[in-house]
């Protein structure tokens, strides 16, 4: 009985959180179009999120391209299909691996950062101070950050994809003596707009989810300094889960279009 009651409480808490998150998202859409616009802060956030995640995305993208090619090569070699390597790698990376891996990295790097920053602002009453001075902290802190993650993530994904393909090319060049031009010609032949557009749209949603959850957890942080750590941690966990759900829905919708 006790276990069932515990499960019930957890489910209730989870559903309550989903409701609060939806209401938070609703407030974002109400505030985003209302002046005054915090353009300077938006640019500052774009710079912070984009520039500071660049190295991480570069290193991860490069290694993924490298490892993916190294792992797949022996299998393709068995079937005499090594020439398919650029097509296979590019489609996998552009459609799926690039967006989801970059988004997961950014959820860890950016989402937790937002959660911790806003959380510490909440517990040190800085958000309350903005509120009592008659300014709108939601607009200044939340709207700018969500917009920045929404716009920066597709750029980071695009950049990560290119680096991953370059990593893959290096393996092909070393092992199979494939030239740069030949490799990327094969990549261009394999890719269609139908591969790029869904991945780009999906990346906007990923970015939105990272900003939304990070801001939600930080802005509503409670329980003092311990709450700050909790906000950062739960921002990453919740966002990661949400990213896979969005990814599943995106793939499902994309497949419907492919079938048409």
């Amino acid at each position: 009985m006790e276990t069932i009651s515990k499960i019930n409480t957890s489910i209730k808490a989870f559903l309550l959180e989903i409701g609060e998150l939806s209401s938070f998202a609703g407030r974002f859409f109400r505030e985003v179009f209302k002046p005054p616009y915090e353009f300077k802060e938006f640019i500052r956030q774009c710079y912070n999120m984009g520039n500071r995640s660049l190295l991480l995305v570069t290193v991860t993208g490069f290694i993924i391209g490298l490892v993916f090619t190294l792992q797949s090569r022996p299998t393709l070699q068995e079937f005499g299909a090594v020439s398919w390597m650029p097509s296979m790698v590019s489609i996998s990376i552009i459609r799926e691996i690039g967006p989801i891996i970059t988004a997961l990295i950014c959820a860890g790097r950016i989402g937790s950062g937002i959660g911790a920053e806003l959380g510490s602002m909440r517990v040190t009453e800085q958000i309350d101070a903005m509120e009592v001075s008659g300014t709108n902290p939601f607009k200044y802190l939340v709207v700018t950050r969500i917009l920045a993650t929404t716009f920066m993530l597709p750029i980071l994904v695009f950049f990560g994809d290119i680096i991953a393909l370059y990593g893959s090319y290096l393996v092909e060049n070393t092992k199979g003596n494939v030239s740069f031009l030949l490799y990327f010609n094969k990549v261009a032949e394999a890719l269609e707009f139908g591969d790029l557009i869904p991945a780009t749209i999906k990346s906007f949603f990923f970015g939105f989810a990272i900003g939304l959850v990070g801001c939600f957890k930080g802005f509503n942080c409670k329980k003092g300094t311990a709450g700050v750590g909790l906000a950062a941690n739960s921002a990453v966990v919740f966002t990661s889960m949400l990213l896979f759900i969005i990814d599943f829905i995106a793939v499902f919708i994309t497949n419907i279009f492919y079938d048409l």
């Binding site: 602002m121 040190t124 800085q126 309350d128 101070a129 509120e131 009592v132 001075s133 008659g134 709108n136």
Partner: protein, 250 residues
């Protein structure tokens, strides 16, 4: 200290304010009246509901019942924009100063100033106003420093400057001398007195500090278990034989 008659214009009136958090009844029908130019000190033990009351007063917390009228406006009935406009007339000094730690002192002071275009217009150069506010608290040389480079007392002064820059008519002080050494605390009290004289502001001061209450109060309210236990001037309350009242002055 000057005493204020009931005929002075009332600028804040709280009636039957109640607030609970689950089973914890923090405020149980609190009443209060602040008149123009008055310094009202509210004293109470930790958990007696002082901070909750002040947060309800500024709209940071939603009371369960009761009315809060600030400068003739019932704050519970105001729209967000109207409340923000009213908030420019009511300054709030936080116990922990609450300076924005990613901004310099100048940016801290500019932040509210640039966003109240209705009251101040679109300001091209905020430097004169920022400098004036900093000079009022004696810290003009800190304009380009970050909050982390300031001492506790300096932070409290900058926070007061940030409050003053919006030219409020009422200032709410949440434990202004807590956590400061006696000398710095005295400096803050003197600063509060000079601000009151210069700008003719009214103030509600929440404090545990008897010296602060003695120096600054025109009237005091002792808050016990979420209601007004006693009310009067510092001398009246200090002379009381009631052990509960005396406990505050020991």
């Amino acid at each position: 200290m000057e005493t204020f008659s009931k005929n002075n214009k009332t600028i804040i009136e709280i009636k039957d304010l109640c607030k609970s958090y689950s089973d914890n009844h923090v405020l149980n029908g609190f009443n209060m009246r602040l008149v123009e130019g008055e310094n009202l000190v509210i004293m109470g033990k930790s958990g007696s509901g002082k901070s909750v009351m002040i947060k309800c007063l500024i709209g940071l917390d939603e009371p369960d019942s009761g009315t809060i009228v600030v400068m003739g406006k019932d704050i519970r009935k105001l729209e967000r924009e109207e409340l923000d406009e009213l908030r420019t007339e009511v300054g709030f000094l936080f116990q922990g100063s609450a300076l924005y730690d990613s901004m310099t002192v100048r940016e801290n002071l500019e932040f509210p100033l640039r966003r109240h275009t209705k009251k101040f217009g679109v300001l091209k150069d905020t430097t004169p106003l920022v400098m004036q506010a900093l000079e009022n608290v004696g810290l003009a040389n800190t304009i380009n420093l970050m909050p982390e480079e300031l001492s506790g007392g300096m932070k409290r002064r900058i926070a007061l400057a940030r409050t003053l820059i919006l030219q409020p008519k009422i200032i709410l002080y949440d434990e202004p001398t807590t956590g400061l050494d006696p000398i710095t605390a005295k400096e803050i009290i003197l600063l509060m007195q000079s601000v009151q004289k210069k700008y003719n502001t009214s103030a509600i001061i929440i404090t545990h500090d008897v010296d602060c209450a003695r120096a600054i109060s025109n009237r005091m309210i002792l808050l016990v278990d979420g209601i007004n236990y006693a009310e009067g001037t510092f001398n009246e309350l200090n002379a009381s034989k009631d052990p509960k009242i005396q406990a505050f002055f020991k």
